[in-house]
Symmetry: D2
């Protein structure tokens, strides 16, 4: 990042005490999310993509120790030399690390030891926030914003990893039970809204924190398009299954069909067909499939096959963002982590509100756009540059956040990305069509 | 493809005799390219991506039998029921097929039997071309164009597969020896040309054959950009190696660095460091590295790492096509299969010609664009729809053709695509930069 | 086992109260061995051969529930239907089971739940022992003996699995610290004793418990042979390493050399070369290599290569047992689990004792005999028959027990068996030679 | 081999011209066996265990060049430096070699080049035989015997590898068609003969060539036993299948059951169930299963499961050899390579011949003995020592030769060996039982 135009805006405009409060709240939330766990749940790695909860707790801590304390704390001393190695994720520039697939064979440090590590680093970071000099504050605040957002990303991963750890267990443990809310109003219809084409701007603007991959804000050219008011529902997806969607190669991308052929795809992850019906494993227990809830835990291939079957397509990320920018975001909001529902919820019609719904929250929406650099993007050097830029190959963009995303983490320019075959996140889709 | 606007233009404008001549020439060229082979060379599959030459000969024949004869020939009878299974590649809609990795364990049919199969299908197709009725001719001509282009694609694959088969052999066999041409003039400099941004159109137009993935022709918005006059050379790439390019994780995409770490990437494929220098295996034998020739056999990760090291970037496919459309293509042409050099050649300055060179030919140029549908793209149903659309995930676009591409096969709207880690094709890069 | 001649002798001769005491002691010892563990240590599976300690605790409990309670307890009810599936090991006749490699991804049941399961089954089994009728007592006692011995086998596996789990952890945790004992006397020399050949009997006799694979007692024919008084020491093995033993293919069995070539064998497991010397990881911490202690954690290939290098060979199991039968076993005993040393110890000369030492205890000794049926062996039907007989392929016999074997579990007719490439048990060797 | 007692007897007693004739005949037979092949068949490796026929031709030639010419020919010059690398099999002491699994990716040298290599080495070896001095003759004759026997072993492998290469081909090519012989007489009954136990000698004696693994001749102790007059037949094996033999885990060794569970074992290799019946692929074409022919292409697990199902067991190799030594071998001979039937044949009763039949020939018979050193065995140093000794782990002994074994290659002391899961050789079984 060689000039100020290209760099993400800093957090300087936020006051020191406010930032401290946000920092502490983020740290606490991570620990809160772990409360329902048994010690044993913190240890296992149920598949390659999953990290043991213990590792998330340590890694997010390491991030503050490594990126803030090490550079800004006077008289800095490593908390533990081996933790440096154990809790590095993928930062090549920050030294060696444990093989990703081996995180689940490490019984030590214990959960208690990791919690002690968390407490100390949280305290030292809080002190640093309060006492750092004015000259170093802007740089520190920038990194702090990054660290908080990093912690928030891991809150979502933590929940989806916990879900997988519990899901593969034959004892069918439940993460937590939530009160059922009354559903008021009719489910939002699957109507398509029309959006006129033209020249638009997308990408992060000058206000608030954003990742480097959302920069620079730039012009795009769109043709007229349509977007469905809500994400595809379980009920619609079930129709696709029952119509033989998983048996028709003509609907599938080649790599997706290979997965189908090898028996790895026959319904969304966590769905199970009982004798009479379909059930779905959720963080709040196994439940009959709710046809009005957004379908989730599908991969890109499933999203694309469904869209093709429906005679529609996935939106591009530009279409998605341009359409979102035209909404009343308060009305368009869905279920976020803040509500603690831990599962996407059915949207209900509200009087006088006919726009897009569930844009932010409920399910991440696969787009038809590859995760690549925006025109004019410049990757930072060092660890910051490793945050996003080096993953710009073979992945697709998802938009909008999910029921596991903290509300102050998501924004309409936010670009999430996963490989096409991943589906343990809360991933769904919203249909688009040419006008 | 439900309407004429969306479908590729047909070959109807070409006369029947001309098309017949093109068909026969294409079929002959494939066989001509195999002439230097020993029978044993036709059989082996030296890695998963490679197909035995015998298989290419059979598969291109099966394509005409299956897509033309079966639907248009009166009294059609299968040449051999098992060949249907053996020579299908990936056409799910056309029935079962041999596992891709098992093509090299099939000793039968023999080369002679495959050649007999070729001859008969060529003859029957030629008869069909000459004698088909006028009403069916347009549809037939369309498929014929597709078949000829399919055959041409396999000519390129045939050569690159033969190269790999010979390269892994400890006896270092040579495909063929070519006469050295005198190099006249200075190598083209690495100067960057400036291109003004704006709104442009890319994609195939109404004239001539094009694949469905080149449609529809559509508008794009470009910022000012620069493009190097020629592809990156061996000499430049060697500088990158000697500067430690393969040892600096900061230059690499994450998936590329994994390959480097596992020892699978340390120089372009087919390069070998001798005690004193570097040598390169070519279809015409092992030779000292020519610093002026375009670097080839690098994957997307290597291309992107080089560009980052050079402080530049890869062009998007839209930039590439817009720049190409502004050139005198005769002057911008490089070495194609027609010259039978079987290796990219150094470009030389010619008086009064200062534009881009080696645009069509020499090396396929990795772009920074993912291989995805153009806005408004509609995938055909059935086997034709399987030709391109179903590969639209996890791959990157390459432009411009190579020394192994037939001259009448390539065009500036042509979109080739490969996964980021593939490099047994003649793949190189041309640098771009923001203005 | 259809007749009394072929069946193992029962435990009827032992009184009910004595057997109850043995049962309770065995159950308690297993739990005692787990006391130094953290909860987290109970969960992980550090390699395919290792089971999580939690699993051992559950599986040994399942064994009593399934084989005793289910058949003998009035009003028997399953403790938990899922535990049946979770804690079955390899008993095909007893239903489905968790994939062996997936034991480490199961966080539930928790350690506390498994301990509750243990307690209840222990209590119910104890009640059954005390209150069962006289007619069913002999059969029950038989199974009880099997269950106790099964529990003891898992005590050894538990320790070696814990060792591996701790060994792969970068924090280098220690299982427990033991007091150093004073070493009195000189180490036992590497002298060879001569044994005359002839016709002998080996195998389990009529007294005491033995596994079915030790039956029937039968005649063997031996030539004169020699046996070393003690196992091979660390010091001797180090000589082999320093003499290039791991670099000379002529010393190795072909499959062993493949392991060497692939970098998987360069010293015994748990040895590490520091800058100045060799260290060894033990359950009581990392320590400098003691040259007088028996070498352990070597596989069959290493044992055979060492013997070939030394100009000797491995003993057959018949030689081993015949030689052992001629010893004063009290004098020949080595370190067993009862001493709680958790590591093989150097043997010391004692006045007037010139025979073989460390026969029972210290290290399991690889023999040159394959693990196959004795002449006249009959495999039982059902789960009992699965205990030993079905593993009679591709494994070698080890004799003599180790520092992790309970003293009342081992006997000179005991046949342990492992695949040639396994070495996470306390496995060493004793040299033999032709006379 | 340090003394004359332990070394295999030499071929000195055979005259030079006789040995030359045997050498030439062996070389010619190998080539004769290849005559039905197409060039393409020489190249492929249809699975890891299979070598391309071209490789067998080169490797057996390399064996003479390396072990005879290099040490005995005056003015010896390597035929081709790369062939040294290409045609080494597993001789670590003789230098590097091609990865076993990569033999099928080498198109060069061509078959014609390999044949030229064969011709020259055959000629030079023949000259050496005729002209070598008397002092070197004994050593040379020893190696010549080894080379001829090595060539003969590869004749059997050549046929079984060709069988596999043709079997996996969907075109179902036939190796050669043989005239059907009339079957005279009733099939030999499945009667068991009784053999009295006692002390016997087994192993190679002082006359004729034998491998080092057949030495030393030594005493064994046997109990009374029974042996079936003939190998198990297809009809009997079919009964086992139809009785659910492949569905009952109680019959199987654990490793065998794993193969069954993974779907890799459901009938002998090359059997195929048609709608109405069973067919078998043979070198002379696909044929209805002949119930009287010996079952073949079963692995050790299948042999052991069948025996357990039948209430019998496999013989030990000592039992087999002792029983064989008591037969009139002319009457006990079965079908060998010499008859060119290329498939095991049903044995027929002949008047007055009530002994064991098909002992030498038809199918290799799995024994219940592991392939280990005889007491007193000494492995040679260097390449000769690599011939047999280094494979003495994890394999089982097979006895008696097959329809693909040359008649002058087999003897009753001959010990063949394979891993338990191999079955592409002509492997069957003969039942034994305790008396």
């Amino acid at each position: 990042m060689s000039d100020s135009v290209k760099r993400p805006p800093t957090g300087v405009s936020i006051g020191r005490q406010d930032l401290l409060a946000r920092f502490v709240a983020a740290r606490q939330l991570t620990e809160k999310l772990c409360e329902p766990l048994e010690i044993e749940d913190y240890v296992v790695q149920s598949m390659l993509d999953v990290s043991p909860p213990k590792w998330h707790l340590g890694h997010t801590t390491w991030f503050f120790e490594r990126l803030l304390l090490q550079d800004f704390e006077q008289g800095f001393k490593l908390y533990h030399p081996r933790y440096y190695f154990l809790f590095n994720s993928y930062y090549q520039s920050l030294g060696e690390r444990v093989e990703r697939g081996s995180r689940g064979v490490l019984s030590r440090p214990t959960v208690a030891e990791v919690m002690a590590y968390r407490r100390e680093i949280t305290e030292r970071t809080a002190e640093l926030i309060e006492n750092s000099g004015e000259t170093e504050w802007p740089a520190l605040a920038d990194l702090l914003f990054l660290g908080i957002n990093h912690e928030q990303q891991h809150q979502e991963l933590l929940l989806t990893d916990i879900k997988h750890i519990l899901a593969i267990n034959p004892l069918r443990p439940v993460y937590c039970r939530t009160a059922e809310t009354e559903s008021v109003g009719n489910p939002v219809s699957g109507e398509f809204l029309h959006f006129a084409g033209g020249e638009f701007e997308i990408g992060a603007g000058a206000n608030g924190f954003a990742y480097d991959n959302e920069f620079p804000r730039h012009k795009v050219l769109l043709r007229d398009f349509q977007l469905c008011r809500r994400p595809v529902t379980n009920g619609e997806y079930l129709e696709f299954i029952e119509a033989g969607g998983y048996a028709d190669p003509g609907l599938w991308l080649s790599e997706g069909w290979d997965l189908v052929q090898s028996g790895e795809r026959e319904a969304p992850l966590y769905w199970e067909q009982t004798e009479s019906d379909w059930e779905e494993m959720t963080l709040t227990g196994w439940r009959p499939l709710d046809p009005n809830q957004p379908v989730c835990h599908i991969d890109y291939y499933e999203a694309a096959a469904f869209a093709r079957w429906a005679g529609k397509r996935l939106p591009t990320e530009a279409e998605w963002e341009v359409a979102a920018a035209a909404q009343d975001l308060a009305a368009a909001a869905g279920t976020l982590l803040d509500q603690r529902r831990y599962h996407p919820q059915a949207s209900r019609e509200r009087a006088g509100k006919g726009g897009l719904v569930a844009l932010l929250g409920d399910v991440w929406e696969w787009t038809g756009s590859a995760y690549l650099a925006y025109p004019g993007y410049h990757q930072s050097l060092g660890p910051l540059g490793e945050y996003n830029g080096k993953f710009m190959s073979s992945q697709m963009v998802l938009r909008g956040g999910s029921c596991a995303t903290p509300g102050d983490h998501i924004r309409i320019s936010y670009r999430n990305f996963f490989h096409c075959n991943r589906r343990w996140q809360f991933t769904g889709l919203r249909l688009a069509a040419d006008a």
